[in-house]
Amino acid sequence: MNSKAGKITLANLGRENPVFAQILGICSTLAVTNVLENTAVMCAGLIFTTALSNTTVSILRKWIPSRIRMMVSTLIIAFYVILVDIVLKAYLPDISRQLGAYIGLIITNCIIMGRAEAFALNNKPGLSFVDGLTSGLGYGYVLLIIAFFRELLGSGTIWGFTVLGDWWVKWSIMVMAPGAFFMLAVFIWIVKGLILVDPEVKK
């Protein structure tokens, strides 16, 4: 049982990573990663939502009529996201204001729906929770790395703290849409081209 959870974890973090292997959750990857702090908040929200929605879908899986399974998954995902939104608005209003624009991006995040369909509907709640959690983590570290570079090159700051002084000409393109596309492409290139090249060679 333990090794099954372990296998899922390794897969979601590495070879079957939602972002660079399955190419899911791209919208938010592009939108959020120009500011490191926002990325962290977004990832926390996504990990929470994916883990819980996976678990809930898994608990209900034997009763959901096949015709409406997408609607039910959507409902459950939206439920958790809005729950987070309401709770943040009340107890952490500043973070809520940061995350507010991204709420919609979490609900339609293909990773959450993808895991619900591919895993949670056919697996037990315990494993589904692990799958949701680790998918979120796999997404998280990729985004944090991309965000680190985008913010550094584009604004000269890391987490809002100026690191590169006035001598650095900001690569404004990094903060905008094209920069996001390029950074993600480079990331995938490095991972696929250098790291995941040989099945036996694992970094």
Binding site: N34, V35, W63, K89, A90, A101, E151, G154, M176
Partner: protein, 207 residues
């Protein structure tokens, strides 16, 4: 035989969807209502802090202090329906500042904020933004300290200049590179508010 079970299946589907929806929406409604008063209070504090900031009054983040200072220094001037027209604020140096609500259309959505004017209703005492959903890292940078602070003391029909110019002219302000639409929106919304200020405030501000 097959027809009956199909109808039954459909019925179950509809019932299931309805029940599950009702269940989850029910929980949401409960949490929403439970936190409503806290959310409203947070909003009110946020707005009050913004008004004080616009008039260049320094307060800490303590809710108690914000409420106290606001009560002492701010008078809400309302119209016949009870809507706030503007705020009459006693600034730190004793002068009166009139703080007006301002709004404009940004790139992603509406931008709302406050514009504070000195008693001549022309010189800007300060500005602040309360609602904006602009691009983080670009348009959203209008909430950064340096951007807002540069407006203190500006006067006349505002004009954008490239970021970094730090112009000495009293009607020029640094825009944000890469956020043309947002910078334009800010320019026009402040100009509009200043233009309408005398009409909103009536015949000048109380001394």
């Amino acid at each position: 035989m097959a027809k009956v079970s199909k109808a039954k299946q459909r019925l179950f589907t509809v019932l299931f969807m309805f029940t599950v929806s009702a269940f989850f929406i029910g929980i949401l409604s409960f949490v929403y209502l439970f936190t409503k008063s806290t959310v409203v209070r947070n909003e009110s504090l946020f707005l009050k802090k913004s008004v004080l900031y616009t008039a260049q009054i320094k307060v800490s983040d303590s809710p108690v202090e914000i409420e106290k200072v606001y009560k002492e220094k701010v008078e809400e001037i309302k119209d016949a329906d009870g809507n706030i027209q503007y705020y009459s604020v006693v600034a730190d140096n004793g002068a009166t500042v009139a703080v007006f609500q301002s709004s404009g259309q940004g790139l992603w959505g509406v931008i709302k904020g406050h514009v504070g004017l000195k008693s001549d209703l022309e010189t800007i005492a300060g500005i602040d933004f309360t609602v904006q959903t602009e691009t983080p890292g670009l348009g959203a940078r209008i909430t950064e300290q340096w951007f807002k602070e540069q407006f203190r003391g500006k006067k006349g029909e505002l004009k954008r200049v490239p970021e970094g110019t730090k112009s000495g002219n009293e009607n020029e302000f640094d825009a944000i590179t890469g956020a043309t639409v947002t910078s334009k929106a800010v320019e026009s919304m402040i100009n509009k508010t200043v233009k309408n200020a005398p009409a909103v405030a009536g015949k000048g501000v109380k001394q």
